[in-house]
């Protein structure tokens, strides 16, 4: 299953974060878990503001790192999937969770 490129990922609202050098330490107050994101994951997570869809997040990530969107699309999608699976991003409300995913 892959996340649909049209959905708008949004940072989960039960997180507290702190920058540590190039990493971001996120504490999930709901699950009492800690996640440490590297520089790339931090950039992608930061762009998940609920206004950009996955396509736009990919474009903006590519711009940040001086890459071409087409080259990093798969990595960005995979990262958003992982962030979603561990509860660090959610998707825009009003649709069921299943609607955010499409078959690979």
């Amino acid at each position: 299953m892959k996340v649909a490129t049209s959905v708008k990922p949004l940072k989960a609202d039960h997180l507290r974060g702190e920058l540590l050098d190039d990493s971001l330490v996120l504490y999930d107050e709901a699950g009492e878990t800690v996640h440490i994101l590297n520089r790339t994951a931090t950039a992608i997570w930061s762009l998940c503001d609920g206004t950009r869809d996955v396509r736009q997040v990919t474009k903006d990530t590519a711009r940040l790192f001086g890459e071409r969107s087409g080259l990093i699309r798969g990595d960005v999608l995979q990262m958003i999937e992982e962030l979603s699976q561990v509860g660090l991003v959610t998707f825009d409300t009003g649709t069921t969770r299943d609607a955010h995913w499409e078959k690979a």
Binding site: E18, L20, S23, V25, Y27, E29
Partner: protein, 296 residues
């Protein structure tokens, strides 16, 4: 005419007068009572200057009480504040069971503190945290460091105050496994430890905590060192990212989860304020030289 008690006819020893040893570990004060003189002497020996051996029984206000009773010469019962805590049929296990009870109770009293699974040594008021899993050689490395002049704070538990981020001594007896005993004897020059059995057949030796009379009561964390024993490794001390150090502290935390975000924040500040290293070593004596270079 005095008649012999039927119990004595069955070979049961008349009760001896119990003896007491008073022990202090961190904020815990405990009196251990037993009729076994050897056990009391062993406890007094392994807690060194943190214990006082009384010839008569009795406790003082505020002290917890651990009582060892030998039942019919085969079963050993250990009571903690009047309730049975554990038992064994192996006399050699009694010492380790009591020592574990004391350590567990002392750590339970420190629930306001962040407790990390780490060896801790110090130079002046600057502490070195050595977070690592069981069996990774912490005690051996700590012994080597202390023998070369570092102050001893703990071989297993780092007690960090989340308000000040200072680390406090947790001077429990060093518990040395069989494989490390020969190395530690050679490093420290200590001829004797107190032998015991811990768990099913695991032979260990206890050594009294080293103490330096002029040592301060609290220390700031100057360095976090992730020790890794590799027999075939090239020995080196390298700087690591704060992220790596934080990950290790989280892995080796006993209770940071209970502190919520405040606990995580404390660990983040610790790695931000300290130097962070990985130590690959195959010889504890040489490893101390590498660490000494960072201390001065």
């Amino acid at each position: 005419m005095i008649e012999a008690s039927p119990l004595f006819d069955e070979g049961i020893k008349p009760p001896a007068r119990p003896r007491t040893v008073h022990i202090q570990l961190a904020s815990l004060r405990v009196a251990v009572e037993s009729e076994c003189q050897i056990l009391i002497e062993q406890l007094a020996a392994i807690y060194g200057q943190y214990s006082t051996d009384d010839s008569c029984s009795g406790t003082v206000p505020g002290e917890h009480v651990i009582r060892h009773l030998e039942s019919q010469g085969t079963k050993h019962l250990i009571f903690h504040d009047g309730e049975i805590a554990c038992s064994t049929t192996n006399h050699d296990e009694v010492l380790s069971q009591i020592e574990l009870l004391i350590v567990n109770h002392a750590t339970a009293k420190l629930r306001e503190m962040i407790l990390l699974h780490a060896g801790v040594v110090a130079v002046g008021d600057s502490a070195f945290l050595l977070p690592a899993a069981s069996g990774s050689g912490k005690t051996t490395l700590v012994s080597a460091l202390v023998s070369s002049g570092f102050d001893y704070l703990s071989d297993e538990v780092a007690v960090v105050d989340p308000r000040s981020r200072n680390v406090m001594p947790f001077a429990k007896p060093l518990c040395v496994r069989e494989g490390a005993w020969t190395i530690i004897k050679a490093l420290t020059g200590m001829a004797e430890g107190v032998p015991a059995v811990r768990g099913p057949g695991e032979r260990v030796w206890y050594l009294a905590p080293f103490r330096h009379p002029a040592a301060p009561a609290v220390y700031r964390v100057g360095a976090i060192v992730l020790p890794q024993y590799y027999p075939a490794a090239t020995q080196k001390l390298t700087r690591i990212t704060r992220e790596s150090a934080l990950t290790r502290l989280l892995e080796q935390s006993f209770n940071v989860r209970a502190h919520g975000y405040r606990g995580i924040e404390t660990l983040i500040r610790l790695v931000q304020e300290a130097e962070c290293y990985q130590l690959l070593y195959n010889d504890p004596a040489h490893a101390t030289e590498l660490l000494r270079q960072t201390a001065y």
